[in-house]
C-alpha cells in the first residue's frame, strides 16, 4: 500500500482562470463588479436603476447569470446596454471559465464598468472567484436580519454591501440598528449603501461611489 500526498487545491482550476480574467480586465482598466444576493433581493432592479443613471457617463457592460432563462438579460438589453447571458443549466453559481467565455463574446473592448450578475444564491457564489475587482452583495430588508449571521462568508468577502428595499422598512421587523451591529462584526470595512430599487432612494450615492471606483481603477 502506498500513500500519495497531492495537496491538490480543489478550486485550483477556477482560481487559475480567475487570475487570467483579472489580468485581462486590468490591462483594459476595466472595473468589474460581481453582484451577488439571494433570489428576489433586487439585483436586477438595482442594475436597471444604476444603468439609467450611469449610461452615457460610462460605457457599461453586463454579464447575466441565470439558471435557465434570459428574463434578466432582456431587462438589461431594453436599457440599451451590451449584455451577454450565461445560463448555468441548474448550476448554483458562475465560475471563472463561464465569465471568460462570456467576456469574449461581449462586443467592444472600450468598456469602463462591467457588472457580472451572479446566480441568486448566498452560498456557492461566495466560493468562486471570477476575477472581479469587487464583490457587491445585495440584501433586502424583507429577508430579515438573520441572513447576515447565517451566511457570514459572502458578507465577509464583500467589498461593498447594498441594503435594498429600504422603503419597506416601516412594514417589516427588520432592525437597521441590529444590521449595522452585525455587519460591524462580520465586515467592518465594506461601504454600506441603503437603497430602494423601487423608489430610487440611495441609488445616487451608490452611483457616485461607482464613478469614483472606476476612476481609481483607470488611474
Amino acid at each position: 500500500m502506498v500513500k500519495v500526498r497531492l495537496e491538490h487545491n480543489i478550486l485550483g482550476a477556477n482560481e487559475l482562470l480567475a487570475r487570467k480574467n483579472r489580468n485581462i480586465f486590468s490591462a483594459q482598466g476595466l472595473l468589474v463588479i460581481n453582484l451577488m444576493s439571494s433570489p428576489g433581493s433586487g439585483k436586477t432592479t438595482i442594475l436597471e436603476k444604476t444603468i439609467d443613471s450611469l449610461n452615457g457617463r460610462l460605457k457599461l457592460g453586463v454579464i447575466e447569470g441565470d439558471l435557465y432563462t434570459d428574463q434578466d438579460a432582456q431587462r438589461i438589453e431594453n436599457k440599451g446596454v451590451r449584455v451577454i447571458q450565461i445560463n448555468t443549466e441548474g448550476a448554483c453559481h458562475l465560475d471563472a471559465g463561464m465569465v471568460d467565455k462570456a467576456f469574449q463574446e461581449l462586443p467592444g473592448d472600450d468598456l469602463d464598468l462591467l457588472f457580472i450578475e451572479n446566480v441568486g444564491n448566498l452560498v456557492c457564489p461566495a466560493e468562486f472567484d471570477l476575477g472581479e475587482d469587487l464583490k457587491a452583495v445585495v440584501m433586502s430588508t424583507a429577508e430579515g436580519n438573520d441572513k447576515l449571521t447565517k451566511y457570514p462568508l459572502i458578507f465577509r468577502e464583500a467589498g461593498v454591501i447594498l441594503l435594498n428595499k429600504i422603503d419597506l422598512l416601516p412594514y417589516t421587523d427588520f432592525s437597521l440598528e441590529r444590521f449595522r451591529e452585525d455587519l460591524a462584526r462580520i465586515n467592518p470595512s465594506a461601504p454600506l449603501f441603503l437603497v430602494s430599487g423601487r423608489t430610487g432612494e440611495g441609488i445616487n450615492d451608490w452611483n457616485e461611489w461607482l464613478l469614483r471606483e472606476v476612476s481609481a481603477k483607470r488611474a
Binding site: 482550476a13 448554483c92 453559481h93 456557492c124 465577509r156 462580520i186
Partner: protein
C-alpha cells in the same frame, strides 16, 4: 450544491496520479474541508459514492474528510481564537473586529492510498 462537480475534479486528479504512479486500486481518498468553505461533507460523501460506483479503480474505496475549524487571528492583541456563538469574526480576547481568518477556508485533496 456544487459538491458533485467538485468531487468529479477530485476523482480526475486521483485517476491521473494513480495512472502516473501505476496504482490500480485506490483504498482511501483524503480531503481537507474548512468549516467556512461552502461544501457539505455529507454531500461530498454522497458524490464520492455515486461517481466511484462501478469503477474498478475505486472498488471498495472510502472517502475520509478532515474538517478544519475556523481560526482567526486578532490584529489588535494577536490572540488566536475559534468560532464564537454567532460572531465568528470578533476577537474573544479584546472584542476587536479587526481579525484575519487563518484557518477554515481549506478545500483540498490531501492524499490517497492504494496499491
Amino acid at each position: 450544491m456544487h459538491e458533485l462537480a467538485l468531487m468529479q475534479g477530485v476523482m480526475d486528479a486521483v485517476r491521473d496520479s494513480a495512472a502516473a504512479n501505476s496504482i490500480s486500486k485506490v483504498s482511501k481518498v483524503g480531503l481537507v474541508v474548512g468549516k467556512l468553505s461552502m461544501v457539505l461533507p455529507d454531500s461530498m460523501l454522497f458524490a464520492f459514492e455515486v461517481i466511484s460506483a462501478g469503477e474498478d479503480l475505486f472498488q471498495g474505496a472510502v472517502l475520509e474528510i478532515e474538517e478544519k475549524e475556523v481560526i482567526c487571528s486578532c490584529q489588535q492583541c494577536q490572540q488566536l481564537f475559534t468560532r464564537q456563538e454567532q460572531h465568528i469574526f470578533v476577537c474573544s480576547g479584546c472584542g476587536s473586529n479587526q481579525v484575519d481568518i487563518i484557518q477554515g477556508r481549506e478545500l483540498y485533496l490531501d492524499y490517497y492510498e492504494g496499491d
